[in-house]
């Protein structure tokens, strides 16, 4: 794997950990289940640590775009799969716009 691909993988991993953190956070039922709550915080801190690694070898804007795409769409898809939280089509358009905003603002 090339060096660039290596850092790209870090950014994708950070996004995946972010999604996992969101799912654990939902599972914690507002921190009533402490274990799930603690796990979600550990996961998000790990995600940030990986992001910090990724930006040593790639543009911050690029890393955020990858993280945003994985995080935003991954969380919505997993929320639907695991918790049955549906989103109307207009909501998916909204998700794409938010992702577009992340992309535009981080590369501005």
């Amino acid at each position: 794997m090339s060096a660039d691909g290596f850092y790209f993988a870090f950014a994708v991993m950070a996004g995946i950990l972010d999604v996992a953190a969101n799912l654990a956070s939902t599972k914690s039922n507002g921190f009533a289940r402490r274990g799930w709550g603690a796990l979600s915080i550990l996961l998000v801190l790990a995600a940030f640590a990986l992001l910090a690694k990724a930006i040593k070898g790639m543009e911050l804007a690029m890393a955020y775009a990858v993280l945003g795409a994985t995080g935003i769409f991954g969380t919505a898809i997993c929320g639907r799969l695991f918790f049955g939280q549906k989103l109307r089509p207009v909501g998916w358009v909204g998700l794409s716009l938010v992702f577009g905003a992340v992309l535009v603002l981080h590369t501005a």
């Binding site: 801190l45 935003i72 549906k86 577009g100 992340v102």
Partner: protein, 118 residues
């Protein structure tokens, strides 16, 4: 429901504080800055956990992410005296429009349960 939105606002505020600390820390390379960043992010997730008790997690996260990047841009305008470019204005409008649409697209939990029962 209202309380959940208050928690989401708190989650976004602590996130922005954390990312501002990261920006400052990456400039100075201080350990204190990084410590503040990780503490703010952890606190932000405690609030996020409270918010997603009633708000769909996909909706809450998209709003958290979108407001975060929009607010950081606004902070850079008001705190660091940065002038908004046309591109940034476009990005801010996209963030606002996206958040409104995500909100409009959320299927309420009771409604979803009703649909499933049908």
């Amino acid at each position: 429901m209202r309380v959940a939105w208050l928690f989401l606002v708190l989650a976004i505020t602590t996130e922005v504080a954390g990312l501002t600390a990261m920006k400052a820390a990456s400039a100075s390379g201080s350990y204190a800055g990084h410590a503040i960043m990780y503490a703010s992010i952890a606190l932000s997730y405690v609030f996020l956990a409270k918010a997603v008790k009633t708000i769909s997690v996909g909706v809450a996260y998209a709003i958290w992410e979108g407001s975060g990047v929009a607010l950081i841009t606004i902070v850079s305008v008001f705190v660091f005296g940065h002038a908004l470019s046309g591109r940034e204005m476009l990005g801010l409008s996209m963030a606002v429009a996206g958040i409104l649409l995500v909100n409009a697209g959320e299927v309420e939990q009771e409604e979803a349960a009703g649909e499933a029962a049908r």
